[in-house]
Assembly symmetry: C2
Homo-oligomer: 157 residues x 2
DNA sequence: GACCTGAGTTTACTTTTCCATACTCAACAA
DNA sequence: TTGTTGAGTATGGAAAAGTAAACTCAGGTC
């Protein structure tokens, strides 16, 4: 993609995804959900994030359909809400795996990463890869970005 | 991973990656590099981002080794710096492809995405997938997160 | 020598986001 | 009826981001 006129990037899918998950704490909240947390107090304790932001992020994630609320009840106390991931949230896993993998490679402690990801059953290490529909592994250099159906040039200034 | 004691997440690779690329504009600058921009004025024009932040983000990306500066020279003007991606930067592609893919699925215009990614040569659509080392495609539900070498529990409070 | 240009830096001001902490609220328990 | 607990809401100050314009700097051109 090498149009000399400026592309209009107002409909860029990367930017639009970041509008939803690009704020501070959002992705870390999702990480906690994957690692098993579901309650407000769990997120607060493990993340150390301010409560008002936590509430705002959870509300956003639920509004966007990435998390959903259910209720749980501990014996001897009343029902309270908990947060569970939806299929739309699960679809963020490849992106987050990509971040995890980069951090493992370039920012891990000398002894290695804090968390290993394995294929349940097979046990082999798991990571995010780029593949084409035909199943070929694709090097980043061999990705070609071409204008899609919603491609626009920028309105003249 | 379901330790009832709190995990210490201060060495989480996701959090550490976000420390580098989690600020506003950073990933969009990388997007522009992939789409062919390399000059300060290109980024400024296409992103519409404030110059001081742009300068700060570029400096950060160069310090982190994700971008590198080279010089270019237009005939009739002096040499000027441009920004090119390094192998360390290329390793962020899977994460960003993951974001792109989610945006394409859930936030695209009705007519479709603005940009299509294809395998150069083969031409087939390309995306980020989760695979294990043995080459199996892995469903998000079949990822098992287990404590790694740098796993720590949280020091008691 | 004066002017131009791309790539910044600096400054000054407004707005937004973030952080820390205090406060509220609705069951349930004693 | 008072206390407790989890899940928030409210608030006030600090930090970061956004906006706009002026300024710098070096190596071109005129």
């Amino acid at each position: 993609m090498d149009t000399r006129l400026d592309r209009d990037m107002s409909n860029c899918s990367i930017a639009r995804t970041l509008e939803v998950v690009g704020e501070k704490w959002t992705i870390l909240i999702l990480r906690e959900v994957w690692y098993g947390s579901s309650r407000f107090s769990d997120f607060e304790r493990v993340l150390g994030c301010p409560r008002n932001l936590l509430a705002a992020r959870l509300r956003m994630l639920v509004e966007e359909g990435i998390l959903a609320t259910e209720t749980y009840k501990e014996p001897g106390s009343r029902s309270r809400p908990k947060y569970v991931i939806t299929p739309k949230g699960v679809d963020l896993v490849p992106a987050v795996m990509g971040l995890l993998q980069w951090g493992d490679r370039y920012r891990a402690d000398p002894e290695g990463p804090a968390v290993l990801t394995r294929h349940r059953g097979c046990g082999a290490h798991v990571d995010a890869q780029i593949r084409c529909e035909r199943g070929h592994a694709v090097q980043a250099e061999d990705i070609e970005s071409v204008p899609g159906p919603a491609f626009r040039l920028r309105p003249a200034e």
